[in-house]
Symmetry: C2
Subunit: 88 residues, 2 copies
């Protein structure tokens, strides 16, 4: 295999990331945020809904700036595997 399909954990991580970004957008217009982050509104929506689970680094950097969410916080959300905290 030349490129592994995304693992279920990564898809889950993408869902958490997207949900966090959407809640961070709060009341702001989706098009306004997307254009400010220099991505298309379609792409922003797919990221928020988790249909693009692993966006490019630069895309997340721009979104974190536009939305005012610290990058480490997004990293924690992305890494946090619910199965781990469950197995305490």
């Amino acid at each position: 295999m030349v490129r592994h399909p995304l693992a279920p954990e990564q898809i889950e991580a993408g869902r958490r990331l997207g949900a966090a970004l959407r809640s961070a957008r709060a009341g702001r217009s989706p098009v306004e945020v997307a254009l400010a982050a220099e991505i298309s509104p379609e792409t922003l929506r797919k990221i928020e809904t988790g249909r693009l689970p692993t966006p490019a680094f630069g895309t997340i950097v721009r979104l974190s700036e536009v939305l005012g969410v610290p990058l480490p916080e997004l990293a924690i959300i992305w890494r946090s595997d619910p199965a781990l905290s469950e197995a305490s």
Copy 2:
């Protein structure tokens, strides 16, 4: 067009990011770091040389953890456009 080709600035950003990651790896073995970050050694080398200019968010997150480089620092490196500081 369905997806824009990478802009020259993004390729430059990828070069800076890769160079920073390589210098952060310092003396460590490339395979050791790659496996710790759960990516293939080939991929790590391509990121370090800038041939993968915009890696996935999770890939950079794992590398920043393994190498001990703070994520915001990588973001700054990625964003810093030399043309901007030149135009002071």
